[in-house]
């Protein structure tokens, strides 16, 4: 064996990292400072409520070829949409595929309203996802049907090292949560409270935007919005955070 090969094998890092899933589960808000926690809990001051308000208006606004609103079929969102978003991503037999909240809304926009799909991170789509009446609901996504395969794929991505920093999600969010990274506490990486208003963005952003920010953080190639990788990751994250209370819109630094 040549010297170079010995050296290479000595420094070879495992491609898959294993670490314990965090116990007890803590939502990302618990790692924020007191003022950020107060702002998220403040139903008026929480800047994400601007999107919720816009979502309430969009809910009743007719759109598309059929000129129907969300309310035309779903009625009063406070009743019909209560806790619905906490069950996503989910396998939808009617669509024959797994969808997250954004994709579910767009399926309805395209198939039922006969309108053009709302682009990712557009004010309209963010408003409708924020206005989803799932405040204080526990995350309860079921990984059945096609979601079971995605769950496995998501777990694989979660434990896979990637990017120039060669880190897996689990390296920080399972192995080092609660410790300080720069001037931030590392969270457990749960999808609770998303979409959230992030001060860094000065705007509300989706969970996919946050996941892409993590990809950027480890200097990995960013998966596009709506990519299978991000969906699989969301399926896994929802299972990992099962039972955790979600209180969107969240507020994060």
């Amino acid at each position: 064996m040549s010297l170079s090969r010995v050296l290479r094998s000595a420094f070879l890092v495992p491609l898959v990292v294993t670490a314990q899933t965090p116990q007890p589960l803590k939502s990302g808000i618990e790692f924020q400072s007191a003022d950020v926690r107060a702002l998220q809990a403040d139903a008026f001051g929480n800047p994400g409520m601007l999107w919720v308000e816009r979502g309430a208006a969009l809910w009743n606004a007719p759109r598309g070829e059929r000129n129907i609103s969300c309310a035309s079929c779903h009625g009063d969102a406070t009743a019909s949409m209560k806790g619905v978003a906490a069950r996503y991503p989910a396998f939808l037999a009617s669509l024959g595929r797994v969808a997250n909240v954004e994709q579910r809304i767009n399926a309805c926009v395209v198939d039922n309203q006969k309108a053009v799909a709302l682009p990712y991170e557009s004010p309209e789509l963010l408003a409708l996802t924020a206005f989803r009446q799932s405040r204080g609901q526990p995350i309860a996504a079921r990984a059945d049907g096609a979601a079971a395969a995605l769950l496995e794929e998501g777990a694989r991505i979660y434990h896979r090292r990637q990017g120039q920093l060669n880190l897996a999600c689990t390296s920080c969010h399972d192995a080092s949560w609660g410790r300080t990274l720069l001037n931030e506490k590392v969270s457990q990486g749960h999808p609770a409270d998303w979409p959230a208003y992030r001060f860094e963005w000065q705007a509300l952003g989706s969970l996919e935007r946050r996941l892409r920010a993590c990809y950027f953080g480890v200097r990995a190639e960013l998966p596009p919005y709506g990519s299978p990788d991000l969906l699989a990751l969301q399926v896994y994250l929802a299972q990992r955070a099962a039972g955790l209370v979600s209180d969107p819109p969240g507020v994060r630094r």
Binding site: F44, E53, Q202
Partner: protein, 106 residues
């Protein structure tokens, strides 16, 4: 159409101080940033905001580029009679917004 929100207590006692809270949706672009292509992003801010109550201006502010996006403001006032609290603002591109709340003085 940019949104605004206003909050006053459901009812206030005559002559007693109460809090008015205002949240305005706006990007508040400073004009100092550049986009991904190196082009400078033009300044875009709310520059004037005022609050009127019973025909009188009770609060006004001139905002600059140092304000964060979606500015939040709160101030205290004293009321003698019930009426409408109206907040109006305008940005540097001429767009205006207005929100109102009914104040119930007992």
């Amino acid at each position: 159409m940019l949104l605004g929100r206003i909050q006053v207590p459901p009812s206030v006692r005559r002559g007693e101080a109460f809090e008015v809270r205002i949240l305005v949706e706006h990007p508040m672009e400073t004009g100092f940033r550049r986009d991904m292509n190196g082009q400078s992003i033009p300044v875009y801010i709310v520059n004037k905001l005022s609050c009127r109550y019973a025909g009188y201006e009770v609060f006004s502010a001139e905002l600059g580029t140092g304000m964060s996006a979606n500015p939040y403001m709160a101030f205290f006032a004293v009321a003698e009679s019930s009426g409408e609290v109206a907040v109006e603002w305008s940005d540097d591109r001429g767009a205006t917004g207005r929100v109102t709340a009914m104040l119930n003085v007992t």
